[in-house]
Amino acid sequence: MSPLELVDDRFDKLAEELRASRPVAPAALRAEVCALEPPGPRWTFRWPSRRLVLALAAVAVLGSLFVAGITGLTRSGNQRSSAGLALRPTLPTRKSPPVQTGAWEAQKAPAPNLGSALRSADLAPATGRLQRYQATLRLRVKDVDAMSSAAKRAMNLAHGLGGYVASVQYATRSKGGGATLVLRVPVGNVQTALTELASLGTILQQHTGILDVTRRVDREALQIAQLERQLAHASPSEAPVIRAKLATLRAKHARLLKSARLARITLALTTPAKQAAAAPSRFDRTVDDAGSVLLRELEILLYALVVAGPLLLLGGAAIVAARGARRRADQRLLERG
């Protein structure tokens, strides 16, 4: 098919004449051109073909899928062990009441080994001495109902043993609950109280502290006696001061005696966290993790596009505009010539 057939048959004669008399390169030019020798082959950058670009894109997609799959498999394996750990009941950790180190004789028992046995029996208050007795007991009960029942029983126990409930904090949550009771029990009944309280649940933690205050009580009693003697011989101007000191000391002494008479038991009750939903299978975890990795990759790609996109767009537009302007200028130049 002649190129002219695409235009018009009228120009066939014109085309034939033009073709028949086309200019021929002179011999000198031919000799000059034939004498040219290209330099040896060398590496040059060539834009990759469309097929190569498509292949590279496919490799990139497959690579990202592979990475996502491997990451999913690896993570799902790791999470299995952590999921196993998560199934264990999680227990709120609370600080034990402050203990005066040195002066206190303390025993802190690790929780899991205790079972229901109370091991504080060997740290009983000594008879014939004045001692401050503090005990902390953390128990795990079956559920919120059991916790409520245990709290009531603990309060009744404190009253029954001649003591009282100093404070109660009780809270229930969707995943379980917790209660903290501070009981004041006569020191003579503290062992009974602890034994009874230990039976309310599984002991998780136990802490017992004893501070002997006999010498302090004696010292304060001596000071009170001295002040009473001073008051008896004091002048009217000195009497009020001594009286005030005496009142303060007596109140302090009364508090000390009370603390030596009533043991402080902090009882913490907790319920195990609700059992987590059935752990997903390894396949599900792998798919989830792979999906999250793919999403992350897409996020990164999107981020890169958002950041670099406008710049690329501007650069591309500038190149296109420059090329267009140059093409139009060339066209004007050729139309003038």
Partner: protein
């Protein structure tokens, strides 16, 4: 040994391409410039450039003739720009048309057609050269011109109509 062979192969390829397409490139440049002397200079320049850049030629992107014509067009445009700047510098804006009795566009052309071709613009003559004289297909010609195939067909149609009109006017005169 292998490298030597490759160098020889490259030389042979270039020599064959130059031999086969020299007339085409020369004819295209004659039509584009409307001047034989300039066309010869530009053809030599084109092949010198082609020789230097032969390693860049990629046969997958088009034939050697198309590539050489693109190179020739680029060389001619550089020349036109330089000439344009020179004219501006010298304050002469009139396009100098060679006024010789020598037939520029080919031996044996009728004077009317020769004159009509001279009256066409370079843009019109180059599309005629590519599509009619060199018989490039629409796609290859469009690639050389840097336009779409449709635009190339339109440009060719207009150029031929104008050429026919100019020939008719010349014959009538």
């Amino acid at each position: 040994m292998g490298k030597r062979r490759r160098i020889d192969a490259v030389k042979t390829e270039f020599a064959e391409a130059a031999e086969r397409h020299l007339d085409d490139v020369h004819a295209y440049l004659v039509y584009l410039t409307g001047d034989r002397g300039t066309a010869e200079e530009l053809a030599a320049e084109t092949f010198a450039r082609a020789c230097e850049r032969w390693h860049r030629f990629d046969p997958r992107r088009g034939g050697a003739r198309t590539w050489l014509c693109q190179l020739a067009r680029s060389t001619a445009l550089d020349h036109f720009r330089a000439e344009d700047r020179r004219r501006r510098r010298e304050g002469r804006y009139a396009v100098s048309v060679p006024e010789s009795e020598e037939q520029v566009f080919g031996e044996g052309l009728s004077p009317a057609l020769e004159a009509a071709l001279a009256r066409l613009s370079a843009a019109e003559r180059e599309v005629v050269a590519l599509r009619i004289v060199l018989e490039l297909d629409g796609e290859a010609a469009a690639r050389v011109l840097g336009i779409s195939a449709t635009a190339c067909s339109t440009r060719l149609s207009r150029a031929l109509q104008k050429l026919e009109k100019e020939v008719s006017a010349g014959v009538a005169a």
